[in-house]
């Protein structure tokens, strides 16, 4: 991404072993212990999954939400390379890193949930391909995108080790991977919605629509921008750097336009299908629907004006609110609004929670380690004291 030479990246530096990284590492080790049990004694020993709910939070949180969290790279790349807004270029590399970690761990997370995980490589063998399957599309697309992300991010690694020649060669072909990096996530983020269409009437009418692919794609992009707000603010606070308000403010404004468009579309679809009435029933689904909408609405309130957006706290909370909206949409559609029939119920077990927490902890831990040692964040011009 450094083909625009004007952005300089530099490692943040500093100690790797801190109370925060120690705590995160503990969470990861806890998750590994649970995974040990899972791989020795099977899914049933650790999870609360059953035949009615074969997909729990390992799929919904680790993969569906985790990969949406990882849409930052894709969302900023769309701004920079499609809408030619070069001023956002400094955001790309950290966003790519978050995407890289998010997608890689989403891919690894799928392995935990696969009953016959040892067959995972079948996805790459054309002989096993079932080209009409949504799941196949998602799996292949995500696997390819993980590879593309690593290639897109590799200049940072090559810079770190001073491999200038290799880096130069790679950058020459980078446009191919940037293109793939745009197309692949659009394909599978929408397909994560198509998966639910296949579930048919088991998904509550508030979420079941033929437009689910578009709804999932739009919210994935929104979450991509939200995660950049979130990540920029947290990184700034954690590393005591300046918040890039001059970039985040206008980006948040664009994000709000997209959000407005999404919400208008969401309600238009509900009304057109005659499903809005379900939102006024006294059901758990209705409550969670309004929670989801409330999060999206809160984003509007927090980022309502340019003045409000100049406050980093608002940028942070606005990002969080939008993320919560996207998370709730996915949990609602995949779990709360999913009804496999009478008597089936699911609530994640402690083991499942520990693994999911561990995966997110690993993402943060890896982000800290990589940003401290690799040139990812833009170089701070105000010299910081040590």
């Amino acid at each position: 991404m450094s083909s625009h030479g004007h952005v300089e990246h530099a490692p943040v530096g500093g100690r790797l072993f801190t109370p925060v990284t120690f705590f995160l590492a503990m969470l990861v080790i806890l998750a590994l212990a649970v995974l040990g049990v899972r791989f020795i004694h099977g899914l049933g020993a650790v999870t609360n999954l059953n035949d009615g709910y074969p997909w729990g939070i390992w799929v919904v949180a680790d993969v569906v939400i985790g990969s949406a969290f990882a849409c930052g790279g894709f969302a900023v790349a769309a701004l920079v390379y499609i809408f030619n807004r070069g001023e956002y270029h400094p955001l790309i590399r950290p966003a790519l890193l978050a995407s890289l970690l998010g997608y890689t761990l989403a891919g690894v997370g799928v392995l935990f949930d696969l009953g016959r995980y040892w067959n995972f490589y079948h996805i790459f063998l054309p002989g096993y391909a079932h080209v009409n399957s949504v799941m196949f599309e998602v799996a292949l697309c995500v696997s390819l995108y993980i590879m593309v992300l690593w290639i897109e991010f590799s200049p940072a690694i090559l810079e770190k080790f001073g491999l200038k020649h290799a880096r130069k060669k790679l950058v020459g072909t980078m446009y191919i991977f940037i293109g793939l990096g745009m197309v692949l996530p659009m394909m599978h983020q929408s397909s994560l919605g198509s998966l639910l269409i296949v579930f048919g009437h088991q998904v509550h009418p508030l979420w079941q629509t033929m437009w689910l692919p578009l709804i999932f794609l739009l919210t994935a992009m929104l979450m991509g921008y939200a995660i950049i707000l979130f990540e920029s603010c947290v990184a700034a606070a954690g590393y005591r750097r300046s918040v890039e308000v001059h970039l985040l403010n206008p980006m948040a404004r664009l994000m709000l336009w997209l959000l407005a468009g999404f919400l208008a579309f969401r309600f238009a679809d509900l009304i057109a299908r005659g499903a809005l009435g379900y939102a006024f029933e006294g059901s758990l689904q209705a409550i969670f629907f309004w929670l989801e909408i409330a999060c999206f609405a809160l984003t509007f309130y927090l980022l309502r004006s340019s003045e409000a957006r100049r406050n980093p706290a608002n940028l942070f909370l606005g990002g969080v609110a939008l993320l919560m909206g996207g998370i709730l949409l996915r949990i609602n559609a995949y779990l709360i609004g999913y009804d496999p029939g009478a008597h089936w119920s699911y609530f994640p077990s402690v083991g499942e929670l520990v693994v999911t927490i561990g995966i997110f902890a690993l993402k943060i831990l890896a982000y800290i380690i990589i940003t401290r040692r690799f040139p990812v964040l833009p170089r701070e011009h105000a010299p910081a004291t040590h």
Binding site: R241, R310, P348, L353
Partner: protein, 388 residues
């Protein structure tokens, strides 16, 4: 005298077929339809078969017995639709059969020679039993001729050769180790195609259907690589077994007479060879008395009698090699757990994480709020800082 006999025969053939077979017309039509179905023929074939059986002049059949127990013949005699004696006396002309013939000695051997001369190139040769080959085949002789010589002599001018039973098909029981007589199947002695109808005993309808196919179409049915008619031997017993659902659900009889055995569970773990044996036993059944009348249906594991290398070779109790579906490592329970909602520990973990996240978020937001004016470095509250 000879002329009188011929006139009698003509008069006999003038009578309707169902009369001659001692059946009703409906029974006869059902028989034709059954054979057409067994052969897996398309609609309309039953009419062709009916015509063939009604009109065909009885083909001469020579039936040789070598190393065997006569079980195949015994089972053929118990076919009921129609009874075999009607069939073999009326549909075919059984000119030589050691078990069924009243004649004996030289008179009997003369009948064989005569049938072969009179029907040269037109008769059907059926061979029951294995052929011993050690020491030039001296272990089985009839009328001073070895089985090898007899088989070759009779096959030379036969229209078709059918090997009935596992012994004739590949050597069967007599060929099991140490095989002192060097017993082998018919097709390794003859250098012409042989249709094998293995089984111990084989289902009589598989044999009859093969014969009727020959009568109707003038050719033998299509066969697999072991010479077995595809209509009967192209599918695994396992795939059409009435106990298959128990296999898929993991319900097995573990020993004879246990609860699972009494409940009719899958016999795989008792050594049933259904998963590696090709035959139509589960669909055609035996004895014409209805459902369940075949070995597995009665509670005994299949011994794989139609399969060379399985029947008479693998001990009955050893597990079959699974050719189609392998059983999963674990099986679904009959009553699946359906989930029990949130428990205290799980809710507590979620609450703790949510609380910690909310707290951390609030702290962060407060610090970020203090960091105004915009673009100024955030407050330094943390000990572990980084340098640019």
């Amino acid at each position: 005298m000879h002329k009188e006999l011929k006139e009698l025969a003509e008069a006999w053939y003038a009578r309707p077929i169902e009369d001659r077979l001692g059946m009703t017309r409906r029974g006869f039509m059902q028989f034709c339809a059954t054979l057409a179905t067994t052969l897996g023929l398309s609609r309309g074939a039953e009419a062709q078969i009916q015509k063939a059986i009604e009109q065909a002049r009885r083909p001469s059949v020579i039936w040789l017995h070598f190393q065997e127990c006569t079980g195949c013949t015994e089972s053929m005699l118990r076919a009921e639709h129609p009874t075999l004696e009607k069939l073999i006396l009326d549909v075919i002309s059984l000119d030589y059969h050691e078990t069924l013939f009243a004649a004996a000695g030289h008179q009997f051997e003369a009948a064989r020679i005569q049938a072969m001369t009179e029907n040269k190139g037109k008769y059907l040769l059926v061979i029951e039993g294995a052929i011993p080959t050690r020491e030039n085949g001296i272990y089985c002789k009839i009328g001073g001729h070895t089985a090898i010589d007899l088989a070759r002599e009779c096959a030379a001018d036969a229209a078709a050769v059918i090997a009935i039973g596992s012994c004739a098909a590949w050597g069967g029981m007599p060929s099991t180790s140490p095989n002192p007589t060097g017993a082998t199947g018919v097709d390794s002695i003859l250098d012409r195609p042989v249709v094998n109808i293995p089984g111990c005993p084989p289902n009589p309808y598989n044999f009859l259907a093969t014969v009727v196919h020959f009568l109707t179409f003038g050719t033998l049915p299509e066969v697999d690589h072991e010479g077995r008619p595809l209509f009967a031997y192209s599918r695994l017993i396992h795939d059409h077994c009435e106990r298959r659902a128990h296999f898929d659900a993991g319900r097995f009889a573990m020993e004879f007479g246990d609860e699972g055995h009494r409940k009719g569970y899958c016999l795989y773990k008792l050594g049933c060879k259904g998963p590696e044996t090709y035959a139509n036993c589960p669909t055609v059944l035996f004895g014409d008395v209805g459902a369940g009348t075949w070995p597995v249906g009665c509670g005994h594991p299949c011994i794989g009698c139609t399969e060379q290398g399985v029947g008479f070779e693998k001990p009955i109790h050893t597990l079959a090699q699974l050719k189609s579906v392998h059983p999963p490592i674990s099986f679904p329970r009959i009553h699946e757990q359906q989930g029990s909602g949130a428990k205290t520990g799980e809710a507590a973990v979620i609450a703790a994480v949510a609380g910690a996240a909310a707290g951390a978020g609030a702290m962060l937001a407060r610090n970020l709020g203090k960091a105004r004016p915009a673009d100024a470095p955030a407050e330094r509250t943390d000990k572990d800082g980084g340098s640019a």
